[in-house]
Subunit: 231 residues, 2 copies
């Protein structure tokens, strides 16, 4: 976990209301706050939805959980950062696809996944907290890299935008395991697991330095986060 | 590709307007229609954004490309299907995360990804075309499975909702390769590729049938689609 918070310390339930209630397959909804944090801590990219003058927009953003809020860093395109200054309402969805579920009929076949959506108005992280925020996101995506390279300059921080979104309002939906219906004679039914796996590091042309600790560690870190170790 | 269309047959460019123009890192925008189809044919889950009375919403949906349109199948929660009957405006984003890019500074470090967003009003697929639509999505996610199991019943098709969204308005953004800045002496810089990989099939308890052709084929099919072969 990005902030080193012990999982057992997370208690409480998520409020269920008109916005957070799952309607379709409602029995897949999880309501513990720890369920939410588990999904957020397992994904790498959030899909951030908001409304522009031209209609809805959804953009991918890198993120990290910081205790009871989400820090998001990414493209300033399409007004998400401009609008967020004015308290733009967001729906932020993180989905991890865990597998294909082969049932005896296609109708009952489905996907295994972990999905969380966080709702609310994000705020820009103030200048004084920006370095800490950038570091949390960096440690999440590239653990250990912060210590290996020079710190960000003031100019770089000034050009960086990070949004903070409270985790107050959120909904979690998780499907796992075999098909829900009973097996039929003569038909193979079951799951085909999907993982995100990490390849061999590719060094930039002209680089002579050895692969650093952070890159080797990322192979372990990401594999764990992304579910490779769940089989 | 789900519809067997030869890639070389896809020509033409995507219209650039206020909604589809990429602002941040605009040089990463691709404008060939074939670029769009490549991204759509490589992803498995779309993040569908729309506006509800309570604010923006983003939900994951399974999808398949059918020529010049996108077929989407998934949760009917949160009004996307109800609203779509009335021509609900959508932003549908498909993102494939291809790797982490380690630059000499964290500021210049980034992600490699392929991302496409399709904009527009979806329409429910009419009853007469529903079986074909369901089959295309099925063949995309579980190729060959359609031939191994019984066809959907009328009742199942009646309970199924599929949306069709034209690919007329869309934007594509792709980053690949090493860091953009020159390497610095003594600092390792480069890429750490990420892939989606397919695990070993897990048979449902009580099943005695052998792993079928469709499940074995999926291991190859998905690996190719999802970029495992791109290293």
């Amino acid at each position: 976990m990005s902030n080193g918070e012990p999982r057992s310390a997370v208690t409480g339930t998520l409020p269920i209301d008109d916005r957070t209630k799952v309607h379709r397959y409602h029995w897949l909804q999880l309501t513990e706050r720890s369920d939410l944090y588990d999904v957020l801590d397992a994904g790498l990219v959030a899909h951030v939805g908001f409304v522009t003058d031209a209609g809805p927009m959804v953009i991918p953003m890198a993120y990290a959980r910081d205790g009871d809020s989400l820090l998001m860093h990414g493209s300033t395109a399409a007004g998400v950062n401009r609008g967020a200054g004015a308290g733009l309402d967001l729906a932020v969805t993180i989905t991890i696809l865990d597998g294909l579920v082969y049932a005896a009929s296609l109708y009952d076949s489905t996907l295994n996944y972990r999905c969380a959506t966080v709702f609310g108005r994000a705020e820009p992280v103030p200048d004084a907290q920006k370095e800490t925020a950038v570091r949390l996101i960096s440690e999440r995506l590239m653990p250990g890299r912060w210590a290996e390279v020079r710190p960000p300059t003031k100019k770089e921080l000034a050009a960086t935008r990070v949004l903070r979104l409270s985790l107050e309002s959120a909904s979690v939906k998780v499907r796992s395991g075999p098909p829900s219906d009973e097996p039929e004679p003569g038909v193979w039914t079951g799951e085909l697991p999907l993982h995100t796996s990490v390849g061999v590091p590719i060094r930039q042309a002209g680089v002579t330095a050895e692969v650093p600790e952070s890159v080797s560690a990322a192979q372990v870190h990401l594999a764990g986060h992304l579910g490779e170790g769940r089989e």
